[in-house]
Amino acid sequence: MNFQAVKVIYKYEMLRAWKTLFQSIASPVISTSLYFVVFGSAIGSRIETVDGIPYGLFIVPGLTMLSLLTQSLNNAAFGIFFPRFTGAIYEVMSAPISHFEILLGYVGSAASKSFILGLIILTTANLFVDLHIQHPFWMLAFLILTCVSFSLFGFIIGLWASNFDKLQLIPLLVITPLVFLGGSFYSINMLPPFWQTVTLFNPVVYLISGFRWSFFGVSDVSVGLSLAMILLFLSLCIAMVSWMFKTGYRLKD
């Protein structure tokens, strides 16, 4: 195991976030705070409770997931895409480092950044609402699993993208709509029956539902199903990345 290589990739990527601190941390925290002001206070004051939870509090898990998913994707995608774009990836590919170690460095750092961001957003949320976490262990488990899975997904996008436009394509056109329609701001029980069924095909529903359960003990779908779905997504991402490395997709001719 080339620990030193994993360490330098991890450190390099974490320092990149530090250099772009506003973009990495401040920007998502500010936008999340704005969501709290607009949805939590302005609109939320007109909605008393959802599933017996005050609306301002109800949206905390969804808002956290919204930032977490987009940041995990962006961090990991950009982390591998940029050295590919500049050609500097030759150095990593010609070093005595295994595919797993490359993943550990890039995906590990992207997931760490998102995890830290998730904790910062929850801390920020605590300034607006009185936050209590019923199942802290499961909250952390969902947080970590989501960060890792979507960082892996971002890594796949970073390998797949052949230009900057494609890099933004999936986060903007797929992830953001899925998160908004995944019950971030509402319970899926509030939807008409037909749309409730449609929504169940949205994988983000399971993430938000499971994460919300860890806070309030209530969920749209069963916790076991949420956990199974996120583990399935993680497995699919691992299988996809393994195939990409094995075939040298966009990395090796």
Binding site: N2, F3, Q4, A5, K7, V8, I9, Y12, K19, P83, T86, G87, A88, Y90, E91, V92, M93, S94, A95, P96, I97, S98, G248, K252, D253
Partner: protein, 321 residues
């Protein structure tokens, strides 16, 4: 006798640091970039791979470095297979790519520490500073790479390739697009590296570069290694000159008294060509002219021509085509 032969074979084997056997590469597009390349590279030598653009030079070194997967054949570095023992082989290799592929917003010192770490080496401030001093980059160590000149960036690439103390260095077109002064500077760096025991393989299409610094020269064209030879052997070919003698009167055949000079008669019989070795003590020109006079051939004009390494290279490539 048997023992000494075995010892000779063993020493010879030990000296080979890279062994390339039947390497082929066909890209997904169907382009056959390499066709059964066989090559042995000795430890401590400077090998120049000469060839036109698209000949397969970069593909070959990319395969050895792990950047391109071969379609067939094997490559061993220091006795280890580049695929099954990639950690051992890659640890021995440093690569300077042709393009200035550097992280623009990173400082010189940070990018060197990153490169060293990738190869599993712990930070070593003293070694890194020595490297920066050797490549006259010390005063630029905290400068962002985007602020450096093209020449400085190329030095950073060399420093990155050497920072993990490799035994083999690949330089892919190291002086492509650089000015004459920097080119000579690069040659001095390469010589110093060779003195420290590093094996150097460089690709180039500058003949003078190969002449100046290489011990051996390989000519590659259209994916085929046409020739690998000691530079001195090539220089001997280079040392051969031609004396073209224009005759006042055309002849139909070389007179019997001149056959020992191996003259070549032109098609129309107006010129004879004598090839001689400039490195020999006597060229034989005086004797030839005396013998021609004696044979009754009158000389109208004389001219000489010398074949360059470039001529040899062009001939080899065109013969192949």
């Amino acid at each position: 006798m048997l023992m000494s032969f075995k010892l000779f074979k063993l020493l010879n084997k030990m000296n080979t640091i890279i062994s390339i056997k039947n390497i082929t590469k066909t890209y997904a597009s169907g382009h056959e970039a390499l066709k059964e390349i066989n090559l042995e590279i000795k430890e401590g030598e400077i090998l120049a791979l000469l060839g036109p653009n698209g000949a397969g030079k970069t593909t070959l070194i990319s395969i050895i470095c792990g950047l391109v997967s071969p379609t067939g054949g094997t490559v061993k570095v220091n006795g280890f297979d580049i695929i099954t023992d990639y950690r051992k082989t890659r640890a021995l290799i440093g690569l300077v790519p042709q393009e200035l592929t550097l992280p623009a917003f990173e400082t010189v010192i940070n990018t060197l520490n990153f490169s060293r770490g990738l190869f599993g080496k712990k930070p070593d401030k003293a070694f890194v500073e020595k490297m920066l001093t050797d490549l006259t980059l010390l005063d630029k160590k905290d400068t962002e790479i985007r602020m450096l000149s093209g020449g400085m960036k190329r030095r950073v690439l060399i420093a990155k390739a050497l920072i993990h103390e490799p035994r083999i260095l690949f330089l892919d077109e190291p002086t492509a697009g650089v000015d004459v002064e920097l080119r000579k500077d690069m040659w001095n760096i390469v010589r110093r590296l060779r003195e420290s025991g590093v094996t150097i393989i460089l690709t180039t299409h500058y003949i003078e570069e190969a002449e100046e610094i290489a011990d051996r020269v390989g000519v590659i064209s259209d994916g085929v290694l046409l020739l690998v030879d000691e530079k001195q052997a090539l220089m001997q070919k280079l040392g051969k000159k031609c004396l073209i003698i224009e005759l006042r009167e055309k002849i139909s055949a070389i007179p019997a008294s001149l056959l020992s000079y191996h003259l070549v008669l032109s098609e129309n019989g107006s010129k004879v060509t004598y090839t001689y070795d400039t490195q020999r003590e006597r060229t034989g020109i005086t004797l030839l002219i005396k013998a021609m006079n004696k044979a009754g051939l009158e000389i109208k004009d004389l001219q000489t021509a010398q074949s360059s390494l470039e001529d040899i290279f062009v001939n080899l490539v065109s013969e192949k085509k």
